[in-house]
């Protein structure tokens, strides 16, 4: 079985983790294996925390069929980076909540982390974070995406996000009527 040579820090963590025998092996949809510190995984992901607690972790690689290798690599990278940064109590959250939690601005390293991603990688990472219940990572990635939406016209948004305009002419007119105050530039 081939263990993917992750990026620098991932590899380093893996070595440390192996020594401690305190790691989790995760398997992407395309069969690549990644190791991540058990502590970081449990702290940052509600889903992994549940699996670890429930003993459903496979030593040969826990199958995460919904997550591709690139996204999983980013997830692991994020966990490791996060473990290296100063953990903040506010980030340890017991349940994922989409509704009320006040959002904390991304820290500098988090901003850099998402800025280097391509659009596709970013969207995949959002999906992965959502699937794994990683609230903080979801916050950071969603923040980045919302930054990409701000101040754009509907057409520009469709272009950036590769969305097909599936409205009829009548519907478009209706939407403009409803929210005329928003369309100030067209």
């Amino acid at each position: 079985m081939e263990v993917d040579k992750g990026k620098g820090e991932a590899e380093e963590t893996r070595k440390v983790a192996e020594a401690d025998r305190d790691t989790v092996t995760l398997k992407s949809s395309d069969g690549k294996l990644f190791e991540v510190s058990k502590e970081a995984a449990a702290r940052l992901s509600t889903v992994l925390a549940g699996m670890i607690a429930g003993g459903s972790i496979d030593d040969n690689g826990t199958d995460l069929k919904q997550i591709g290798s690139e996204a999983l690599e980013n997830v692991v990278d994020y966990c490791n980076k996060h473990a290296n940064s100063i953990p903040s109590a506010a980030l340890i959250s017991s349940s994922i909540s989409f509704n009320t939690a006040p959002f904390k601005e991304p820290e500098e390293w988090e901003r850099k982390f998402v800025d280097r991603l391509s659009h596709d990688a970013l969207f995949d990472l959002v999906e992965a974070a959502n699937f794994l219940g990683m609230e903080r990572l979801l916050d950071v990635t969603c923040h980045k995406i919302s930054e990409m939406m701000k101040g754009k016209s509907p057409d520009q948004i469709r272009e950036v996000f590769n969305i097909k305009n599936d409205y009829t002419k009548e519907e478009l007119e209706e939407i403009r009527q409803e929210l005329a105050w928003a369309f100030y530039d067209d």
Partner: protein, 529 residues
């Protein structure tokens, strides 16, 4: 890697993204595709903004006597980023309006404000315009009177808008005379020459006022006979007496008629219908005034304004302070109305400017007379209207303090003016959008100030969400907390561009709460007729 569409994102994640957007961006994103609209609407994400946005006081719009334009008096705002500047800064100068401020005839003012929408009369009163300073959108209301009509003499204009209920607004005309003479111009000759000089100057754009007495007497010309030289003296006296009696009896009949009538038919412009409509409001409960009461009440409360009495919109009802010393509560949903006398406040010989507005507990009525502040809350339990006295405070010391130390105090608020780059206090560097009503600049008033005092406060408006009243001593503005009696100094509200004269004063003022909602179609069809 296959091309990714964000549409495929989990609904939760998409909603997560949308929650980070300011309202305008969110509204635009909603228009990108069906799936996004479903997410926004399904989770009522826009409604979150409706609740959150109009909940702070940004400043006060002020009309000045004999000044060409209103100004916003508020905390200066420095945007924290370019994006914020583009998206969220309120245009205090309303520079987006179709007004040429360099043209002498383009005088304009704010007529009313309601939850973020501002009703203006532009083109020297010839045109009504509704605008939203936060979204910089405006629309013209179709004219209800001919160009040049002196409508301000006959009617008051108010705005009804509640974004929590509807994105549409209504403009309501309340007659201040029993008839609406702009349809049938009044017959009495113009009396411009008889008016005192100062009034002509103050209201120069207006024409002669409609005079009810003239109008009533013109229906009976019996008095004219008495001046016929052919009659002998005795006959003249008889005719004159008869004439007076007849005039008197017809007048008495007219004067004793209850006012307002029921049903009371008002002209209402509805933005959803896009046209003016006549709506008949039926009275609930007893009348409180007659035509005579109305006639005896001055058309304008004082020569310093307000030129039209204040109104307030609260939970689907428009409360209007009407000529005749009463408040009418119009239900805009049920088409009925109730009336209640204004609280008993009149002290003889003191000109004061009562204010009707919205605050924490509903509709408030306040007045300062002789430096005594009185505020009542309208209690509406059990379907009856009733005034409850909220406070009765003596402001003599406060006036003295502000007069003595006002110039030395740090002024957190400024007037937005055309050339006011140097007007912003340099000390204010915090990027605060909202005035912090609990912590800003509270001062304690020294005891023992007993100098001569001439000044008094007028009410500038109520804080719509807290029991705070804004007061102005001439142009010096303070905020007064009704429950704690704390006084906060806000600054000087005199614009630099306002020429100095003994007539300088504030006409009307409206506490402004920004709102990002409100359907206003930018109107490019305005004619320069």
């Amino acid at each position: 890697m296959e091309p990714t569409e964000m549409v495929a994102l989990p609904d939760d994640a998409l909603a997560h993204v949308f929650r980070r957007l300011p309202p305008r961006s969110l509204a635009i994103a909603r228009g990108a595709c069906n799936a996004w609209r479903a997410t926004v609407d399904g989770r009522a994400l826009l409604l979150l903004h409706r609740q959150h946005l109009p909940h702070y006081v940004h400043g006060v719009f002020v009309n000045y006597i004999d000044h060409c334009r209103p100004h916003l008096f508020s905390r200066p705002f420095r945007p924290s980023s370019a994006a914020a500047a583009a998206e969220e800064v309120v245009d205090g100068m309303l520079s987006f309006l179709p007004i040429d401020n360099h043209r002498v005839r383009d005088w304009w003012s704010v007529l009313d404000h309601c939850r973020g929408l501002v009703l203006c009369d532009i083109k020297s009163g010839g045109q009504l315009c509704v605008c939203n300073p936060a979204t910089r959108r405006w629309t013209l209301v179709p004219p209800r009177w001919p160009v040049g009509a002196i409508w301000r003499e006959y009617t008051s204009v108010y705005l009804a808008f509640d974004p929590a209920m509807s994105a549409h607004y209504e403009v309501v005309l309340i007659p201040t005379e029993p008839e609406r003479p702009w349809r049938e111009p009044p017959s009495p000759p113009k009396r411009r020459n008889e008016r005192p000089a100062f009034e002509v100057r103050l209201h120069g754009v207006d024409d002669a006022p409609f005079c009810l007495d003239d109008w009533l007497q013109s229906s009976s010309h019996l008095g004219d006979l008495a001046d016929d030289d052919d009659k002998d003296e005795e006959e003249k006296v008889f005719i004159r007496q008869q004439g007076q009696r007849q005039v008197q009896s017809s007048m008495e009949e007219d004067m004793a008629a209850e006012w307002p009538p029921t049903p009371w038919t008002l002209e209402v412009f509805s933005s959803s219908a896009g046209r003016w409509e006549q709506r008949a409001f039926v009275r609930h409960g007893d009348p409180v005034a007659t035509v005579q009461d109305m006639r005896l009440d001055q058309r304008r409360l004082t020569c310093r304004g307000p030129r039209q009495r204040y109104a307030a919109y609260w939970k689907g009802a428009l409360y209007v302070h009407c000529r005749g010393s009463f408040i009418t509560r119009f239900s805009m949903l049920n088409y009925d109305y109730q009336v209640i006398k204004t609280p008993e406040y009149i002290k003889k010989g003191i000109s004061a400017k009562p204010y009707l507005g919205i605050s924490e507990k509903g509709v408030y009525f306040g007045i300062v007379q002789d430096r005594q502040l009185q505020i009542w809350i309208l209690n509406e339990s059990c379907g009856r209207l009733e005034w409850v006295l909220k406070c009765e405070d003596d402001f003599t010391h406060c006036v003295q303090h502000v007069r003595k130390y006002g110039a030395q105090m740090n002024a957190p608020w400024i007037v937005h003016d055309a050339h006011d780059a140097d007007n912003a206090p340099k000390a204010i560097l915090e990027e605060r959008f909202e005035w912090d009503s609990d912590h800003d600049d509270i001062f304690t008033i020294e005891d023992g100030l007993n100098e001569e005092h001439y000044g008094s406060f007028d009410i500038l408006g109520f804080h719509p969400y807290k029991e705070v009243v804004f007061l102005a001593d001439y142009f010096t503005v303070v905020a007064y907390h009704l429950n704690t009696s704390k006084v906060q100094f806000l600054g000087n509200s005199r614009p630099k561009s306002y020429y100095r004269s003994f007539t300088n004063d504030i006409y009307e003022s409206f506490v402004y709460t920004p709102c990002m909602i409100g359907e206003l179609n930018e109107d490019s069809t305005m004619n320069e007729n």
